[in-house]
Amino acid sequence: MNNYPLIHCENIYKDYQLGQVSVHALQDINLSIDKGEYVAVLGASGSGKSTLMSILGCLDQPTGGHYFFDGVDVSRLNTKQLALIRNQKIGFIFQAFHLMPYATALDNVALPLIYRGMKLQERQARARIELERVGLADRMLHHPSELSGGQQQRVAIARALVTKPKLLLADEPTGNLDSASGKDIMAIFDACLKEGATIIVVTHDNQLAKRMQKTLRLQDGKLVR
């Protein structure tokens, strides 16, 4: 096994230009996350959680510093290379689920595999496996509107897992769910951890964060201990 961390940030800055004003969304972020770690990113809204997540997920690039993901300096990559990393190494779970309303659960889960140029049959075979894993074997051909919130989030998790990512990045995954559904989601995460996944959960829920091995606390764009 390689001995470098999966995630390594060195003096990350992210500034936004709002008219004449420069907003410092992230300032001097230094952190390392090893493979297999279960990490919570905590902070009030506006603290920079989402910005950090977009950089860790290679959705956006820092304006300063270096971000190494799986040993690669992501800050130097172009759009196409970033898309490739997102597709092959990162699984996203969003608070609003972001499922395609017109597609079945099966097609939603298979979506990321399209961008790998995979054939339809193989895409569906893989999607089926993931849906069974999250306990939705009997809901594969249902549309999102026919599923409960908890079921929708499980579809979204299956979609994140279908590419066998090295990192699972979850943005308030239980924010829109009742506590029972939230527990189901956490149970799935626990199972993924046992299989060696690295999971980062962005949340403002302290109770949730307590389950995790490591907690990163953000305040005004800075990490606080």
Binding site: S54, T79, Y102, L111, Y115
Partner: protein, 409 residues
Amino acid sequence: MELRYLLKEIFVDRLRVLLTLLAIAWGTFAISFMLAVGQGFLKSISGFMSQMGSHSMVISPGISSMSFQGNLAGTIISFTPKDIEALKHLAFVKNLSAEYSMQDQLKYSSKSTSLHISGVDENYLALHPVSLKTGRFINAHDIANRSDVIILGSEISKALFKNKNPVGQWVNLGPFALQVVGMAKASQNQFSLYEMPNNYLAWLPASLFNILYPGQAPKFLLLSIKGHGEKPAQKTVLAVLAQAKHLDPTDQALVKFSSNDAALKAVTGFFHGLEWFLGALGGITLLVASFGIANMMLLAIRRATPMIGLRMALGALPYQIARNYLIEGLLLSLVGGFVGFLFSLLVIKAANLILPNINLFGPVHLFLILSWPLALFIILILAVVGLCAGIFPALHAARIQPVEALRHE
């Protein structure tokens, strides 16, 4: 699979989609129908004109505008039998006929009617349309022998003979008795060169006319040419006539040429113009409709922005996103266009069933043509419209950042 979902995204706004498709269909219908009208009418008219004998010209006398060899400007030209003989010997002259004209009274027993008498040669029918109902027209024998024959227009025949067949009867023109040998069909579209309806005319051999009305000069000369350009032929004719009358052969005012070819060109030009005008109207409709498609797609993209961000987050590349919207624009315009095109085919079929039964333009048989090159041209236009409609939304979609996926709705 992706495209299917994009279409569903856009079909959320069903009414808007329907109206836009309708606009595209209407634009396509307008273009293809108008072009079919243009092409069909052009073909109908030019077919009719060529049947009339193109490369034939009418020469009418004028007045000299330049002094020449002692003859002053203002000399009135009149054609003589000698001129006709001289012209007949030109190598490029295929058919030649004079047309004389005189107003007179024609009598049959107790009935009489006034009419215009045309004196013409045996080649007249090859140069100018007269449709016969019964009997024959003037022939070479009549010209050579100055036969006492006459051909009646339909109204003249009616005035003298009611509905009886006049052929074989003898009629009186002043002191002369003439035998009716033919009768023209009733027609609203056939006229003499001096614009008298054929229905109110009678035709005599030119040689007989010269005896009946001595001293009359032909009102017109008609001739058709072979193996020779129209312009050089006119120049030679002018030179021959000028020489005979000792006038300047470069004086364009001596005679006036009006040619069938020129008329054909004018009509053709008119219909080409019409075709372009109507095509342009359809084109503008399509252009507006393409704005409709673009606008509709931009709205759909705005609604779907988090979804597009999501696709990008999941690994889609900007060009993949753009390509889908481009195909979508193309698809919408082709679907709308297909409907419009089918509709125009139906209307053209129906028009071609009805048009022959409407005697709108007399002997010109009108029909519409939608040819394959035209159909291909329309498909090409639709493709361009579709691409134009799709390209702006596609570029817009491609610029969406994957971070958009993180924005909560």
